[in-house]
Symmetry: C2
Subunit: 299 residues, 2 copies
């Protein structure tokens, strides 16, 4: 296990490992690893001979006034955690290693898929993500790349970019990992005061309530307006919660829908601010008459 800072050292290492006769998994992260990231590394390790995790806080995906400067960083801790989860290499380049002097090339997935949800308040965010992920794919050339469902919109956009540009990589999206009390894991959770942390549980609680109501089979339970209101009301109970959005959309295209249709997935997604901290969470909603009726009690 080693920490590699340069592209040249990374390529040397890959050649030494006989990369061409092995499978390679990449886990792109911004570091400050938590159990969610580690689940990606473990999955990558189970499915590939070699696993590279990149730790790079990407400046181009932060807007003015966002938390690029104060985004939590601890490469020593990341190295230990990544190692224990089975990564072979931590690739931790400087900004100048990823963005060459004068770099001005952008990769952008146009359309609602990037304009809605987080794209509405963070207009340059996803362009920064797709550009840096393209760069990392070209540098590492993995067979598979692992992303978390926590960033559901990001995962959709990256899948679309890979499909549209025919990138030779398989995108694997892994389930959200939550704290025991249901809070979705995020590097930004450390910003939360104890009181905010407690109130932040309302995100997951609201999403689960909506899921439960859908599963109940009640008249009108598939109506998006009703389901959104259920989520919103649960979060609004918390005095420190400032809702940025509560949305339910078609799960692939992020187009508007009026009801959850049988066998078509919908994405229920929320973004909520607590003070300066912005949290997101989501769940996939599905309506299958027989299934939902049978499992309503479990959800």
């Amino acid at each position: 296990m080693s920490l590699i800072k340069t592209i040249s050292d990374l390529h040397t290492w890959l050649a030494e490992q006989g990369r061409n006769s092995k499978t390679l998994g990449l886990v792109p992260t911004m570091g400050y690893l938590h159990e969610g990231h580690l689940s990606l590394i473990r999955r990558a390790k189970a499915e590939n001979d070699l696993v590279v995790i990149s730790v790079f806080v990407n400046p181009t995906q932060f807007g003015p006034g966002e938390d690029f400067e104060k985004y939590p960083r601890d490469i020593e801790r990341d190295y230990q955690l990544a190692s224990s989860a089975g990564a072979d290499i931590v690739f931790n380049p400087e900004v100048g290693e990823i963005y060459v002097p004068g770099a001005s090339t952008e990769v952008e997935v146009k359309g609602n898929i990037q304009k809605r949800l987080c794209g509405a308040s963070r207009p340059i965010h996803f362009k920064g993500v797709t550009t840096v992920v393209s760069i990392l794919f070209h540098i590492v050339q993995p067979d598979r790349a692992y992303f978390g469902q926590k960033d559901a919109q990001q995962a959709l956009i990256i899948r679309k970019m890979v499909r549209d540009l025919h990138m030779p990589v398989n995108v694997v999206v892994c389930p959200i990992v939550r704290e025991k009390d249901g809070l979705a894991m995020s590097s930004r959770n450390i910003y939360l005061s104890p009181e905010e942390r407690q109130q932040a549980l309302s995100l997951n609680r609201g999403l689960k309530k909506a899921q439960g109501y859908l599963a109940s089979g009640t008249e009108g339970c598939r109506t998006v307006e009703t389901l959104k209101r259920i989520v919103r009301e649960e979060i609004e109970k918390e005095p420190l919660a400032q809702i940025e959005y509560v949305e339910i959309m078609e799960a692939e295209t992020l187009e508007d829908i009026e009801a959850i249709e049988p066998f078509r997935s919908a994405l229920a997604a929320v973004a909520v601010r607590f003070g300066k901290t912005r949290l997101i969470d989501n769940t996939v909603l599905q309506w299958r008459e027989d299934y939902n009726a049978a499992h309503a009690a479990e959800i």
Copy 2:
């Protein structure tokens, strides 16, 4: 030698050839091949074990009212010519094979390098070029890709895209190939009437005059305004020529310069319309006091 229409067949063929233990050259073209394209194929064949030439008239690089529909196509002829020049495969996909349904991902090199020269009159052109070239690179995964200096701005932009995005491919730019009388080869030359064809020689003549004047060492011969006037006046002699631009710029960045500086290359580039046909041509200008003085007579 075969003609391949689908990505799947191309990948099968590459695997059968043992691509991983061989070097692979790609020559991306829009077909209707001429000696310029064939020079790229021959160069690719000399430098690689396997050579793929793509023939794809890319809709996204044509603006409204441009010649996408009537761009000349003759895949049988292309196949014969590519074969005779040493290509192993002609990859000739349908539009729907390159652009999947709903594709909306764009690769764009921002800045003056794409806004000036041809970018001024063709605002979406280079974004279409960089997007399709990215797609072809991802599909074919060549070690080297070959482009002509005839499209000097395109070559610069592709080089920059590859550098900015760390694409694992070497870009090779090959010299302009000209007819015996000096006309730069282009698939669009077939649009020209005999009279237009004759007057089109003024592009190369103007560029050579400027080059000769620079080499003369005359007082003020390095002044860009003067050199541009020399080119322009030569072309303006022709009654059918409508100049779109005559420019001399820094050769890598396409920034303005006032004079040709020692050991710094400048790009002298022209775009001229003859009726509905738009022709481009260019030459690289260099000033090296000793060299130019000694070689003035030869140029």
